[in-house]
């Protein structure tokens, strides 16, 4: 980076608008006194809170010819805020003796505006060069392009040439384009230079402009040389377009303006009209070769040139949760803007934050070089001697035409347990509960493993109960069953007559079945008698003891008036048959006709029950 003399530095803030307070502009010149054949380098720096900053507006400079010599921008992101700084470099060539003034240079963003203070530069006579030291350069080998209002057979008054330092390069390898503007006559006003059109090529200006004299075909020219570094991004044949210069010349005149004669010089001034002339260089071809695939390392960073790699930490001792800044610096010649960040090794003991990179370029000896600085915040997770393994990166060296791997030295940081009074680790809010008295909370971490993982028995059983599914219907069924039983039992207790009435037929038929199985005819008759008496007593609500057929008939006719007489007659017939068998057993076999009697009863009782239900 050029070391300016910093003879004058002015930084003036612009308007006091809220946003404008951060927009600023400053201007520096490398000297405030300059010889007529020398040049002044003006650096204008614009800084602001946004990534894209406008170009400064240079005022018209009466006493100087101005040439742009490139711009250098740096952007930084800090805590999510963007700030950028752009330095524009201009080369000023004095045109007249005396006091020259660079008027305030301004820049504006929206309503915000800032400007510099005026800068005064004294232009003095150039000292006579020592004998034999005239800076005359050799004439260009190739016939220059352009035309001049010169005499036939003579070299043109102005001309422009362009040339490359090499015709074949690798992708991203630097080539130098040199454009020379030759002028053998005084120019009216500043010549307007239009750089060549370039596609697929990144450019970097290579200041400063060089001015010297050269002879060509016996004519002396003032030469202005502009160099540009080219970094092709695409392979194949790239065309470098024509560089053009638009200038105003005095038309041919009879009087020689360089004559030593006073009258010639007097009358030659301002008498002839200006002529606008545009001259262009020949287009050039640049062969761009792809980088070899064979042998390309996995950690190839995309860099082409020659680089070195270094790393350091801002502290050798830290503590858990306390950030350590790791700075990785890539330095060397090449297009640093196309260089990727070197990959970090695995750092399990560190919490690694996103890197922040900045590029600083220098242009010395027609070579773009500089450094790329990557800053990474590391927060140790654990205490101990924590190592940061070597960081590696590979680049392609076009001189050796091979990939080169470089690496940093291993670093070690001694990490102590965290300070309980220090801020917690980034991104984590420590619990507010203070440590107990006498204890010092160093750091918080997850609690250790469960050494004997097991599912407690209570949990297993409860989950088993939860998964029982349809079995859970059992208690409900039990409850409803018990409730039904209890209800029935209650009803029995509340209405014994009704229970007897409803159960009469079933009890009678059951007794008949018992009687059928009885071998003793007398006992069987007694059972059948009990069945008939019991049935009629239950149905009529009378006690079985003392029930007579007459009473039965009375009650049946009273309570069941619709009962047919044959049914009553049948009852009476069976009643009497049973009485007869009970009190006067038949001679012979007592079982004779007993089955028939039982069947008649079994047929009668259901029919009679149906009648009772009517």
């Amino acid at each position: 980076m050029r070391a300016y003399a910093a003879l004058l530095a002015v930084a003036i803030s612009g308007a006091a608008a809220a946003h404008g307070q951060e927009l600023s502009i400053s201007a520096q010149v490398n000297k405030t006194q300059v010889a007529l054949d020398d040049q002044v380098v003006l650096a204008v720096t614009v800084t602001g809170p946004q990534a894209s900053l406008p170009d400064p507006q240079l005022p018209a400079l009466q006493n100087f010819s101005q040439y742009s010599s490139g711009r250098n921008q740096s952007i930084s992101f800090v805590n999510g805020r963007v700030s950028s700084s752009v330095t524009h470099t201009f080369v000023l060539v004095p045109r007249a003796l005396g006091q020259g003034v660079i008027s305030p240079i301004s820049v504006a963003v929206g309503n915000s505006r800032a400007q510099t203070e005026p800068i005064e530069i004294q232009v003095v006579r150039s000292q006579a060069p020592p004998p034999g030291a005239e800076p005359v350069q050799p004439a260009p080998a190739a016939p220059p392009a352009g035309a001049a209002p010169g005499q036939a057979g003579r070299a043109p008054a102005v001309m422009i040439t362009a040339e490359l330092d090499k015709r074949k390069v690798f992708v991203n390898e630097q080539a130098i384009l040199t454009v020379r503007f030759y002028s053998s006559v005084p120019l009216l006003g500043n010549p307007e230079y239009v750089p060549p059109k370039l596609e697929g090529v990144l450019t970097e200006d290579l200041p400063p402009l060089r001015n010297y004299n050269a002879n060509f075909k016996g004519r002396t020219y003032g030469v202005t040389e502009i160099k540009t570094a080219l970094f092709p991004m695409q392979t194949g044949r790239r065309t470098i377009g024509a560089a053009t210069v638009r200038c105003q010349l005095q038309q041919d005149m009879a009087l020689d303006p360089f004559s030593q004669d006073f009258f010639d010089r007097f009358f030659s001034q301002g008498l002839n009209p200006a002529q606008t002339k545009t001259i262009a260089s020949q287009p050039l071809q640049l062969e761009v070769a792809a980088l070899p695939v064979a042998g390309r390392p996995a950690d190839f960073s995309g860099g082409v040139g020659r680089f070195t790699l270094s790393a350091n930490v801002d502290k050798a001792r830290s503590q858990v949760g306390d950030a350590v800044n790791l700075t990785v610096t890539v330095q060397g010649a090449g297009n640093l803007k196309a260089l990727g960040n070197p990959a970090l090794p695995e750092l399990p003991s560190w919490r690694v934050f996103d890197p922040v990179a900045s590029v600083s370029q220098e242009k010395k000896g027609d070579t773009v070089s500089g450094s790329k600085v990557i800053r990474i915040v590391l927060v140790p997770r654990v205490s101990g001697e924590l190592a940061i393994p070597p960081i590696t990166m590979s680049y392609f060296d076009p001189g050796r035409q091979e990939y080169v791997r470089i690496h940093t030295a291993a670093l070690t940081v001694s990490v102590a347990p965290g300070d309980p009074n220090a801020a917690p680790a980034v991104g984590y809010t420590a619990p507010s509960a203070p440590a107990a008295k006498g204890l010092t909370r160093v750091n918080e971490d997850v609690i250790y493993l469960k050494v004997r993982p097991a599912l407690p028995a209570a949990t297993r059983w409860l989950e088993a109960v939860a998964g029982a599914g349809p079995l859970h219907s059992l208690p409900f069924l039990f409850f409803f069953w018990v409730s039904g039983l209890a209800l029935y039992r209650g009803r029995l207790a509340a209405d014994p007559q009704g229970v007897r009435y409803r159960a009469a037929l079933r009890a009678a038929l059951k007794q008949l079945q018992v009687a059928q199985l009885e071998n003793d005819p007398q006992k069987a008759v007694a059972l059948m008698n009990d069945a008939l008496y019991g049935y009629l007593a239950d149905k009529l609500g009378e006690p079985a003891a003392g029930l007579t057929m007459r009473r039965v008939q009375e009650l049946l006719r009273k309570r069941q008036p619709h009962l047919p007489d044959p049914v009553i007659a049948c009852i009476k017939d069976i009643w009497e048959e049973l009485d007869s068998r009970r009190f006067a057993p038949p001679a012979g076999d007592a079982a004779d006709g007993l089955d028939e009697l039982r069947r008649r009863m079994a047929a009668l009782l259901p029919d009679l029950d149906q009648e009772f239900k009517r």
């Binding site: 399990p348 997850v446 469960k450 088993a464 109960v465 029982a468 208690p475 039990f478």
Partner: protein
């Protein structure tokens, strides 16, 4: 006789549904595919700082025994130490859903959640109330509720059947029904307040879009580890909602680990 019958039925039901008394199908050992004891190997790797490998072992153990809260907890520890906060929170959350009263599980889940900008105890809820409400897991509460149900119905049946002993049975029956009611209400409340489908965001900065596809605009982003409710799915996209923020949107299914 009836109570004896009911008790016998209950015991038979539990014997039919209860799992083995051992902690794993291998009698307490979690043997990996190559014969190593998964737990011992996982612990050894964890102690050696190889958290990724430890997580692999614990993942195998969890796959064989999904209802073991301790295994989920250990898996969460290994994932967390490996820097995978989202999957770690998912594992801790599973452990918490199985055994929420374990203080270690609560502590580590809360610790990991705070990394994702959340807290285990919702803002405004007294911590003690939260701990009491989550004393039992949902399945444990379900089991307790059914046990109370069996007890209440048994005592109610006795109360109805044994008319002569109703004075003695009345307070016990009333207490059992009250217990059933309380546990049933607790279980219902826990079910209603716990999303039936939930998940954890496991990608570093997940983009939640307005529809199920990359062609829909990004509505908002969510950090890794944020717990979300899964509302529906459509192919490889899930519709998620975040109750705390009151927003919902669609996210790639791969960015969410269901719990």
């Amino acid at each position: 006789m009836i109570p004896a019958y009911l008790a016998l039925t209950l015991a038979a039901a539990l014997a039919f549904t209860a799992p083995s008394a051992t902690t794993s199908p291998n009698g307490g050992r979690h043997v990996g595919p190559d014969g190593h004891d998964a737990l011992s190997e996982g612990q050894r790797l964890y102690d050696a700082g190889d958290y990724k490998a430890a997580a692999g072992w614990y993942g195998q153990a969890v796959a064989r025994e999904r209802r073991n809260a301790d295994l989920h907890y250990n898996l969460g520890n290994a994932l967390f130490k490996d820097g995978r906060t989202g999957p770690a929170i998912a594992s801790y959350q599973r452990a918490f859903s199985i055994r929420p009263r374990d203080p270690d599980i609560r502590q580590n889940l809360d610790f990991a959640l705070r990394r994702a900008g959340e807290n285990l105890v919702p803002p405004g809820v007294p911590p003690l109330l939260f701990i009491a409400f989550h004393l039992f897991s949902e399945r444990e509460l379900s089991g307790l509720h059914w046990l109370a149900c069996w007890l209440a119905l048994l005592l109610a049946g006795l109360f109805v059947w044994k008319g002569s002993r109703r004075e003695t049975l009345l307070p016990w029956t009333a207490a059992a029904w009250l217990l059933w009611l309380v546990l049933g209400g607790w279980w219902l409340a826990l079910r209603l307040t716990t999303p039936q489908r939930s998940g954890v965001i496991v990608s570093a900065s997940a983009e939640i879009r307005s529809g199920p596809g990359d062609n829909f605009s990004v509505s908002f982003t969510a950090p890794e580890g944020r717990r979300v409710q899964i509302l529906s799915d459509s192919g490889e996209w899930l519709e998620i909602g975040m109750l705390k923020e009151g927003v919902k949107g669609w996210i790639a299914a791969a960015a969410v680990e269901p719990i």
